[in-house]
């Protein structure tokens, strides 16, 4: 089990026993273990809070540390204790304890959700976003066409994306079956199509 899979199942066992597989991951991953510990503490604290109770400063510190550890927040310069709204009776901006706990849980839920999408540890099974279909060289070329023939650049960009997709697919075919003559010919022709598009775009935009 990797971090992504573990965090996808996190909500299921935060207040109950983790599966054997999840327990195995917890033993080997300090990031996920720390996250689970913080979530369990907040969950436990929230149940114990009375209306007039306020979360202790150590709870907020742990939340802040967890969020900072995951890169979701940056620690600002320390704020004077008097300005902290959770300081004991010192500020007229004090918020009821239950609202503070809800806000904390929401923040952590957001953090957990972000973590589900971004694995903490690089992982060979993580989804890799496909490369942009128009690379930097293509963008420079299209910018040159845009200067000369602005009404045509959108169309050429669309065809550039299509031809780059065909090159990508043809490359994949050759990689999967290097001995396939038809696959190799498709790749050669895909590159020739791109070359032809460059040539036609430049020629037409210079007329």
């Amino acid at each position: 089990m990797n971090c992504t899979e573990f965090q996808n199942e996190l909500a299921d066992f935060i207040d109950s026993e983790a599966t054997a597989e999840a327990q195995g991951h917890l033993k080997s991953c300090t990031a996920c273990a720390g996250l689970v510990a913080d979530l369990r503490e907040i969950s436990g604290q929230a149940r114990l809070l009375a209306a007039a109770d306020e979360p202790g400063p150590e709870v907020w510190s742990r939340i802040e540390e967890a969020l900072e550890r995951e890169g979701l927040v940056r620690v600002e310069a320390p704020v004077p204790a008097r300005a902290l709204w959770w300081g004991a009776g010192q500020s007229s901006w004090a918020v009821p304890a239950w609202a503070a706990a809800v806000a904390a849980l929401l923040l952590l839920a957001f953090g957990v959700n972000s973590l589900r999408q971004t694995p903490a540890v690089p992982d060979s099974t993580a989804v890799v976003q496909p490369a942009a279909l128009v690379d930097d060289d293509d963008m420079k070329f299209l910018a040159a066409v845009e200067k000369r023939a602005p009404s045509k650049s959108g169309r050429y960009k669309k065809h550039m994306e299509a031809v780059n997709a065909s090159i990508r697919d043809a490359k994949r075919s050759v990689e999967q079956d290097p001995g396939n003559e038809l696959a190799r010919e498709r790749l050669i022709q895909a590159y020739d199509q791109k070359s032809a598009l460059y040539e036609m775009a430049m020629t037409q935009s210079m007329q």
Partner: protein
């Protein structure tokens, strides 16, 4: 003068005025050059039909007609090369920039046409090297005996239609346009589209190499039972269906997969035919 005569006079004046206006709006010109074999014509146009036909004798004749005074035709001879180009004098609408061309070409004189959005039509040429760049222009080429010369056609999105073409080294490319070939044969015929469909109808000649490739377009082939071909067809993520009698080759490194690829020969397998699409459908049937 009676009312009838007055009416005729008035009508005549109106017609004369109308003709005068029409003449002032555009300009018709004719250029003539004597060309030896091996000479070539280059024609560049933005909007408007370009028609190229076979012309007897040794004279190249180019007729042009502009639609407004916002464009002009520039013609120049450089040795055995003749260049005709549309110049835009002032910005204008597509209709104002329209120039129609008619070219008569003797045998063995080459032609290059670059047109943005006017149709390009070529008919009856003999022994000419032909290069046609259409961008969004549709391109049609019919009844050409290339006598071993090259015929290159390229468009970005214009459709390409070829019919009755023989003995040509053909290279046909379109990014988004469809390509249709009927009775087209030659020592080498290469057709490539990225998104356009390819349709071929004919016998594939003899001793030729034919390659029809599309990334996402469909490829439809209809051939007579007498066609002598050595055929390979593959669609990686689409489908490949054959309804033409082919004999499996005894030794072949190409492995057919039901519904995705097939190969085989008909008669002596004189012409090599490769049909390849990444995600389109390939369909082969008997005419």
């Amino acid at each position: 003068m009676g009312h009838g005569n007055q009416f005729r006079t008035l009508a005549g004046l109106v017609l004369a005025g109308w003709a005068g206006l029409a003449f002032a709006a555009g300009k018709a010109e004719e250029f003539k050059y004597v060309a030896a074999p091996g000479a070539s014509v280059s024609l560049i146009n933005d909007v408007g039909q370009v028609t190229v036909r076979f012309g007897e004798g040794r004279k190249i004749v180019i007729r042009s007609k502009t639609s407004s005074d916002k464009v002009e035709v520039y013609a120049e001879q450089k040795g055995s090369r003749f260049e005709i180009r549309t110049h835009t004098l002032q910005p204008g609408s597509a209709e104002e920039r329209r120039v129609e061309y008619e070219v008569f070409l003797p045998a063995r004189v080459g032609i290059t046409v670059r047109a943005d959005s006017g149709p390009i039509r070529v008919k009856g040429l003999r022994g000419s090297e032909i290069i046609l760049d259409g961008d969004s222009s549709p391109v049609e080429v019919h009844e050409v005996d290339a006598a071993g010369q090259h015929l290159h056609v390229r468009t970005v999105s214009g459709n390409i239609t070829l019919g009755n073409i023989s003995s040509a080294h053909l290279e046909i490319r379109s990014l988004g346009g469809n390509v249709s070939l009927e009775k087209v044969s030659g020592p080498k015929v290469q057709v490539t589209t990225t998104q356009g469909n390819i349709r071929y109808s004919g016998a594939f000649g003899s001793n030729g190499e034919y390659s029809l490739i599309s990334h996402s377009g469909n490829i439809d082939v209809a051939l007579p039972e007498t066609a002598s071909v050595d055929m390979m067809a593959e669609s990686v993520e689409g489908s490949a269906d054959n309804d033409f009698p082919l004999q499996r080759k005894a030794r072949s490194s190409f492995l057919p997969h039901q519904g995705r690829s097939f190969s085989g020969t008909s008669h002596s397998g004189s012409s090599s035919v490769q049909l390849s699409s990444f995600s389109g459908k390939i369909r082969v049937k008997k005419q």
